[in-house]
Subunit: 512 residues, 2 copies
Amino acid sequence: MKRKVHVQGSRDDIRVPFAEVELSGGNPPVRLYDTSGPLNDPPTGLPPLRAPWIAARSGDHGGERTQLYYARQGIITPEMEFVAIREGVDPSLVRDEIAAGRAILPNNVNHPESEPMVIGSRFLVKVNANIGTSAVSSGVEEEVAKLTWATKWGADTVMDLSTGKHIHATREAIVRNSPVPIGTVPIYQALEKVGGDPLKLTWEAYRDTVIEQAEQGVDYMTVHAGVLLRYVPMTVGRVTGIVSRGGSIMAAWCLARHEENFLYTHFAELCEIFARYDVAFSLGDGLRPGSIADANDEAQLAELRTLGELTKVAWEHDVQVMIEGPGHVPMHKIKENVDLQMEWCHEAPFYTLGPLTTDVAPAYDHITSAIGAAMIAMYGTAMLCYVTPKEHLGLPNRDDVKAGVIAYKIAAHAADLAKGHPGAQAWDDALSKARFEFRWEDQFNLAMDPDTARSYHDETLPASAAKTAHFCSMCGPKFCSMKISQSLSLEMQAKSEEFVASGGQVYLPVVS
Amino acid sequence: MKRKVHVQGSRDDIRVPFAEVELSGGNPPVRLYDTSGPLNDPPTGLPPLRAPWIAARSGDHGGERTQLYYARQGIITPEMEFVAIREGVDPSLVRDEIAAGRAILPNNVNHPESEPMVIGSRFLVKVNANIGTSAVSSGVEEEVAKLTWATKWGADTVMDLSTGKHIHATREAIVRNSPVPIGTVPIYQALEKVGGDPLKLTWEAYRDTVIEQAEQGVDYMTVHAGVLLRYVPMTVGRVTGIVSRGGSIMAAWCLARHEENFLYTHFAELCEIFARYDVAFSLGDGLRPGSIADANDEAQLAELRTLGELTKVAWEHDVQVMIEGPGHVPMHKIKENVDLQMEWCHEAPFYTLGPLTTDVAPAYDHITSAIGAAMIAMYGTAMLCYVTPKEHLGLPNRDDVKAGVIAYKIAAHAADLAKGHPGAQAWDDALSKARFEFRWEDQFNLAMDPDTARSYHDETLPASAAKTAHFCSMCGPKFCSMKISQSLSLEMQAKSEEFVASGGQVYLPVVS
C-alpha cells in the first residue's frame, strides 16, 4: 500500500510530505517524493501552510524579501529546510545553491498554500505541467481538475497558460488549490486586455498585469525580455519562424513599432515588482527553435546571450531566475545547448521544453521529447516542461496531462540515476527486487503508475492467484527466466564455492 | 495521400518499395522507407520475389553461399543492390560493409518472400518487433495479424518468440507471410521437444531444431553460446539474476550437468548449418542485466568478450553475425556498452533490447526504453529490439505492438538525425514546413502515425474548415505563434533589408 507520511523538521510546522510504499516479506518501506498536496476534494482552497513563516519575516523589516536575499545573508529559511528534507540533502546545500543563483525556490508570498520545492541542477530533476484554457476549449473546473491530476502524477510545478475569457478567475482557482508553485506568461493576459492586438500592447498594461498576477500569488513568470528588435530578422530564413507565443507577440510589437522590446527596456522596473513578492523570473526563449532545422541557430543563441545579461540584472535586485530553453533539438546538439546556457547564463537553472528530438511524430511528442528531456536533464537541466501527445494538434485533456507528466517523470528519474543523485536508485532497486521475488503487489505499488501496471497484468491473468504466481503471461510458466534463475540461486551459491575451490578450470575450448 | 511506389534497379525484378507522400501547394512528394510489404489480405503467402536470384546463384556452384561470401568476393548481389536503393547509398558501400562484417543482410534462401534490408551502423537504424504465442495466451491467426500490423507501422524485422503448442505451424504461417526477415530463438522449441526440462536438452535435439527452422526460412537465430559455465556464478550477487529466457535455460543446463554450454562446444557445427541456408547469427546476451543495479557488470562483460571470440569463428565460415545487447542500463553507462561491444566484437552490428533507463515505470517501458534506445543507436547500435507497454506484465496485444513499434521508430529516426544519415532530415523538414504553412492534411500524411495525429486534431476541431485554419485548439486563433510569425515574414524581409542598410543600430541599452 501507498500512504502519505510527513517528516517533521526543526519546528512543528515544518512537515514534509512523502508517499510511503509498504512492502511485503519483511522488506523495508520505500519513501518517494510526493507532489500531490493535501488532496482536498472538492477543491475549496488549500491551507496556507507557509503563512506563519512569511508573517514572521515580514515583521523583521516591514516588507518582503526574497529567498535569494536570505540565502545571501547566510540564513536558512523554513522553506529551505523543507526542501532539504524533501531532497534528502543538507539545508546548507540548499542555501548555498540558491545564494549562488544555481537554484531557485519559487514561492510568492501570496501563495502560502504551496509546499516548498527547489529547482537546480544539484537537486532532483523537476517536471512542469502546462494547463490552461484556450479561446476554443475548456473551462475553470476542468483546469482545476487538471491541476490536481497533474500533481497527483508528479508535476512539480504547473503553468497556467490560459488565454481567452476568465483568465483571472481561472488563475485564482488554480493558485488557491495548488500545492505546487504556479507559473504564468503575463503577456497573454496583457494581450487580452488590449483587445488581442499586439501593436496596442504597452509597458503600463503589461506592468499592471504582472502586479495583478503577483498579488494573486503566481510564483514564477515567463518574460520574453530577450527578444530584441535586432534578433527578429535572424528568424526570416527559418523553417518554422518564431514558435513561442510570447516571442511572436513581442517580435510583432518590436517590428511594427520599430522600437526595442519594452520588457527589455523596463526590465529593472520588473525586477523591483518581482522582488516585492518573491516572484521568480523564468526568462523566456521567445526565439527557441520549432523544428530540427532551426535548432541552435543564430537567433536562438543571440537571445540566450541576452538572457544571461538579464540574469545579472535580476540578481542585483535579489530576484531569483531560471532560463527557458528549447524546443526542437536533434540529439547531437543537446549538450551544446546546455553548455552554452551554463556559460552564458552564469549557471542559473535551465528549464527546457523537451526538447523534441524529431519533428515527424505528432501524436507521440511526449515520446519524441522525453528522449531529449532525459538527455538534457542528464547534462544539467534543472526542470523539464512536459509535452503531451496533443502537442501541435490541440489542447491536452486529462488523459494527455497524465501521459505527459508520466513520460516526463520517467525522463527526470532516468536523469537523476545518470547524475548519481543520492538515493535515486533505491527506488529502482526496490522495484527490481520485488520483480525478481515475484512480489507482484509490491511491484504495482512501487510503480510510477500502479493503476496501469496492475490493469495491464490483469488483462491476461486476472485471478488473484496470479498475484503470487512465479510467472506472467509474457513467457508463461516454463519460460520464466526469473523463475529458473531464482531456483538456480541456491544451487549456484553452493556450486560457486565448489567451483572457486577447484580452481575454476572447467572451461572447455571451442571445437572448431 | 500516401501510396506505395517502386524504384527499379539494374534489372526488371529489382523493384524497391517506398511510401510516397504527395503534398499540396506544389511541394514535391516525400519518399519514405517502407516495410509494409505487398499487403495481401487475407494472408495466403507472399510472392517469392528473391527466388530467381537465389536459383541463379545456386546454379553457379551447386550449393548456397552467404551474402558475406559474395561480398568478400567483391560481388554485388541483387539483394545488395536492393538495399542500396532502399537506403539511398552506393551499392559498393553495402558490399564493403557486409564484407567487413560491419553489416548483415539477413535472408535465408528458404525465405524468398522477404524484401532485402541491411543492418549496420552506417545504414538507417532498424527496429525489430517481437511477437509469438506463450503457453497461456494467443493463437496462430492472431500472431500473423501482429506480424502484418508490426510491419505496417515500420518493423524492419520480426522475431517469432513462440513457446507452448503449435510452434512449427505458427512459424510457418509467419515466415510465408513476412516481407521482413524473421528471427527466432531455437532453444525455445528445442526445450518443448524434450518436455520442458532444461536438463534433458541435448546438442542433437537443438541441432535438429535449428535445421527444421532453417529449412522453413528463418533468417536469423538467437544463440546463447556465450553463457559459459564459469560465468554463471558471476550472477549470484545480482538483484535480478539471469533475465534472458535462453540464458537462464543454458545456465541451468551448464550448472546442473557441470558441463560447458553445448552451443559453445558445437559452435563450429552450427556455423556449417547456418552457412548452408545463409542464416545469420544473433549472438544472444544470455547474461544481460535485468535491472539498473546489474548494468555493465562482470557477468555481462565476460559474456560479451566470448561473443567477440565466436564472431570470428562465424566469419571464418562466411556466416553473418550480429551481437545482442542489454537490457536495463542507466543513461551514463550506455556509451560504454557500445564502445566495448565495438572493440571486443570487431564492429559486428549491435542489436540491443532497449535499454530501459529506469526500472520504476512498468506499463511505460516503451518510453523508459525508447530513451535508452535512441541514445544507444546514436552511439552506433544498428538495430533496436522494441519493448512494449506490457513488458514485465504480460503478452503484448495488437495495440501494444503498435505502441512499441512507433516508440522505437521514433528512437531510430532520432538517432538517424543525430548520426547525420543522408536524407534523414528531409522528412522532418517537410513536416515542419507543412506545419508552418498550416497544411494540416500534409502534416497528417507525413506523420509517423497519420491516423492518430488526425484523430487528436479532430477531437477539438472536427470541422473540415479547421483543416485549412491558421490555428488549432491548443492556442486558439489569437495566440498562434506560427500565424503571427508567418504574417510577420514578408514584413520582416523588408525590414531586415532596411535594417541592415541602416547599420543595425536600433539597439537600446537596458534602462536600470
